[in-house]
């Protein structure tokens, strides 16, 4: 009996989530742009979720837009983020079962996510990641991280630096020392 009750709750929740997503709330970027987003989708951001919960849903819907003050939340980044949460809000919740963590980390990105995150403008990509991190959208940060790691894969230090525009703050000697220390990992099988 208890089990049955659980099931009904679960389905109700899904309906409630779908209904709540019809409610639109406004999000304001640091550049001042205001964008609409479904409530359930927006709540994928822990930051927004906490704000909505502390303010109460009614207040959020009727009053001022939620201001996302971090400078990474540019208009373009916020648009991208809303696109992502609107696509993913109805994803099933993460199965917190044991040993899933490692599987999930190794799991390839879905086709949609790959297309979504593969943007030419690296500044925008980093804005999206930094903004997602600021807004605490774990799934999206993970997508960004996986994308960056897939780009790093197999590249040399210099290539990584050039690609990600990283300043090399090592001296040549320091770099050589690290190379020497790690030589064993590059050894051929």
């Amino acid at each position: 009996m208890a089990d049955n009750a659980d099931h009904i709750d679960g389905d109700d929740n899904e309906d409630v989530r779908a209904q709540q997503n019809l409610i639109k709330i406004k999000l304001k970027s640091s550049e001042g742009g205001i964008y609409e987003c479904g409530l359930t989708a927006a709540k994928m951001s822990d930051l927004v979720k906490n704000m909505v919960e502390s303010l109460g849903t009614d207040a959020v819907v009727t009053t001022e837009p939620i201001i996302l003050g971090n400078e990474a939340v540019t208009d373009a980044a916020l648009k991208k983020i809303i696109e992502w949460v609107e696509f993913h809000w109805d994803d099933p919740p993460v199965d917190h079962d044991f040993e899933d963590e490692k599987d999930r980390r190794n799991e390839e990105l879905s086709h949609w996510d790959k297309q979504f995150i593969d943007v030419d403008d690296q500044a925008l990509l980093f804005d999206v990641i930094a903004a997602a991190n600021y807004m605490d959208i774990k799934g999206l940060v993970e997508v960004g991280a996986k994308h960056i790691c897939s780009k790093i894969r197999g590249k040399s230090c210099q290539e990584v630096r050039e690609m990600l525009k990283i300043t090399n703050d090592f001296t040549a000697e320091e770099e050589d020392a690290i190379h020497k220390e790690n030589a064993w990992i590059y050894a051929k099988d």
Binding site: D3, E31, I166, H179
Partner: protein, 654 residues
């Protein structure tokens, strides 16, 4: 966002103390790493807006009175104002500085008008030892503000070294007499090459050749404030950056209204802004143009914590390769490793062709500060090692060194060739409190052994057993329901002879079971349907896989079955079925029974899954992947694929 109280400070000065006011503001921003909100008020103009100013008094955290000759004169002129003002000030919050005058210049008459004069902090500004004076000022101010109470590690930092660097280069009293209105509005300058904190870059505005001091924010970002008076009188500001004698570039800023990013980029060529920088904000607020640039397309912009998170998805080899990209990478690339899996390939790299020895551990431990766990995959474990407790997962293909298990008391995951081995080598008491075990159960395994194993491993969460014979199968099946914490059960059985109430008992006792996989090497269609039916006892199941290898027993066509029996397992996300008798009707209403199903695998050797079944299957609301095994794709399907494509939701990967 971090919020903390920004101390509000009022500086009251007279016309001949203006230089000092400006100098103090400049010095405070250099020496105090805590943001201060400084309000400047000229004593001569005390009459203007006095009431408002007076009301605000309780809000301020500190007052600095720059007593100069002109100031003393003003005290006499505006005696009433000065008295009421100082009366409402808390003398303990007040710092009086004598600039170009001495304490003896202050007459009793002045002291009477300056309420609480004797209880104020007093300092004499000297131009001969300005360094000590500033240090004293800052210390005094920090006492007044009681900055420690902000519990912020950025509190006041009077670093002598830093101060010396500053004093040697900073223009001291050669400041022009223009007022500086310190606001939060700042102009940021970004540089292509990093500059150190001690390198000084100046900005000149327009034709006045006034040099503005530029503040150092990070190696790539400097900022400065345009004095308000310049903005209000010029339509276009020409801003030049100068470092030493080198002219870095000039940029014009139009002083009209708010510009957006694109408009700005179009109007003004950003030739002196480095490639890696992009414009972040342009705002026209309170008669000030606020422009910020930042490096946005460089990974350098991320702090260590985000960098660490991003890099945590790299493989071990990539991590080593990336270590020397930058110091930030070196700091962050290895910290997320808590678990390391040693497989054959890594073993060869660590120890060459020899057996795994102890030499590699320090090699790894040095790099990975947070390493807690080592997994061994098909690698023999090192003989005696201090690091044995680090190993929690072992994967044995080498029965020979199983007797060393006593060293590895933290073991939680074990993969063995045969469960009997632990009894053969008398290590059954060492194999305890496991969370996961993967092994075969060979002939000769007794009820006694199984009972001992189960008793020692009551908290087992994951059990993967492959039984060799019917005899062992019955033993294993009998004991499964004594493992109450079991979450994952995978059994590979040679026969379909299973006592009638087995699944019921397991369902009742293993309440946490979420994954169940059954492979039966021979199984009749009838038993298959019965087994499927008994899944109703596993209501919390999330993943279910039922497979059989032999199909010769499946000839009976009457044994077609309904998937509706799965309606009790509404939490299923993964379902794998091997079947030959699924009719279109079997799939009817599947979307109502299994609302959470994400991955469906159908082993269909006889092409019984019809095209129409797809319509039912594709109604599943959460479906992500669908695999049909062994299907000879009929030609008719090709022509109807586009129909199917219409039905497939965007999320489904086919």
């Amino acid at each position: 966002m971090l919020s903390f109280i920004i101390p509000e400070i009022v500086v009251l000065y007279a016309s001949d103390g203006r230089e000092w006011d400006r100098y103090l503001a400049e010095e405070f921003s250099q020496m105090i790493e805590f943001p201060l909100n400084i309000h400047h008020k000229q004593a001569e103009h005390l009459d203007e807006d006095y009431d408002h100013f007076h009301q605000q008094i309780p809000r301020y955290n500190a007052f600095i009175l720059l007593i100069s000759k002109e100031f003393l004169h003003t005290i006499q002129l505006l005696s009433h104002r000065m008295y009421t003002l100082t009366e409402s000030m808390n003398p303990a919050k007040c710092l009086i500085m004598f600039c170009d005058c001495l304490e003896t210049d202050v007459s009793d008459g002045h002291k009477r008008l300056l309420c609480g004069y004797r209880r104020c902090h007093r300092l004499v500004a000297t131009q001969t030892d300005v360094k000590q004076f500033m240090i004293n000022t800052v210390k005094c101010l920090s006492n007044i503000l009681d900055l420690n109470r902000y519990k912020d590690h950025r509190v006041l930092n009077v670093s002598k070294k830093r101060y010396e660097n500053f004093i040697s280069i900073a223009p001291q009293f050669e400041l022009s007499t223009d007022t500086i209105h310190t606001r939060n509005e700042r102009i940021y300058i970004l540089l292509e090459s990093a500059v150190s904190e001690t390198q000084r870059i100046h900005v000149s505005i327009g034709v006045t050749n006034d040099l503005l001091i530029v503040h150092w924010k990070n190696p790539y970002t400097l900022y400065f404030t345009i004095p308000e008076f310049m903005i209000s009188y010029n339509d276009t500001l020409e801003i030049s950056l100068i470092c030493g004698h080198k002219h870095l570039g000039t940029q014009k800023i139009l002083n009209t209204r708010s510009l957006d990013r694109n408009e700005f980029a179009m109007k003004y060529s950003l030739y002196d802004i480095p490639r890696s920088a992009s414009l972040s904000h342009i705002q026209y607020r309170d008669r000030q143009v606020f422009i910020a640039f930042r490096v946005t397309n460089s990974l350098d912009r991320f702090g260590d914590d985000l960098c660490e998170l991003l890099l945590s998805y790299l493989s071990l080899e990539d991590r080593f390769r990336c270590e020397c990209v930058s110091k930030q990478f070196q700091r962050t690339v290895f910290t997320t490793i808590t678990i390391i899996t040693i497989d054959q390939k890594l073993k060869r790299k660590l120890c060459g062709p020899q057996y795994l020895n102890n030499n590699f551990i320090p090699k790894l431990a040095k790099k990975f500060p947070n390493l807690r766990t080592i997994d061994c995959q098909s690698v023999s474990i090192p003989p005696k090692t201090l690091f044995a407790p680090m190993f929690t997962r072992l994967n044995y293909n080498y029965p020979l060194n199983i007797h060393r298990l006593n060293l590895y008391h933290r073991l939680s995951h074990l993969k063995l060739h045969s469960l009997s081995e632990i009894f053969v080598y008398k290590t059954e008491f060492l194999v305890k409190n496991l969370t996961k075990i993967v092994c075969e159960v060979t002939t000769g395994f007794t009820r006694q052994m199984m009972s001992t194993f189960v008793a020692n491993n009551r908290r087992l969460k994951s059990l993967h057993l492959k039984c060799e014979s019917l005899e062992t199968q019955l033993i294993v099946i009998e004991f499964v329901d004594q493992l109450p914490y079991l979450r994952e059960l995978s059994v590979d059985l040679p026969s379909d002879q299973i006592p009638a109430n087995t699944w019921l008992k397991i369902g009742q006792n293993c309440r946490q079971l979420t994954r169940f996989s059954l492979i039966s090497r021979t199984m009749s269609a009838k038993t298959y349907v019965r087994t499927l039916d008994s899944m109703q006892h596993f209501r919390r199941l999330k993943r279910l896989s039922l497979k059989t290898v032999s199909f010769n027993l499946w000839r009976n066509p009457s044994a077609s079955h309904e998937l509706s029996v799965l309606r009790h397992c509404r939490r299923l996300t993964h379902l794998s079925l091997f079947t030959s008798r699924l009719t279109t009707d079997s799939f009817a209403c599947i979307d109502q029974y299994l609302p959470r199903l994400q991955h469906l695998v159908i082993g269909d050797t006889r092409n019984t899954v019809t095209f129409d079944s797809f319509y039912h299957i594709l109604k599943l609301p959460a479906l992500k992947t669908l695999t049909i095994d062994g299907h000879h794709w009929p030609e008719v399907f090709d022509s109807r694929m586009h129909e199917l494509a219409m039905v497939i939701g965007p999320k489904l990967e086919f």
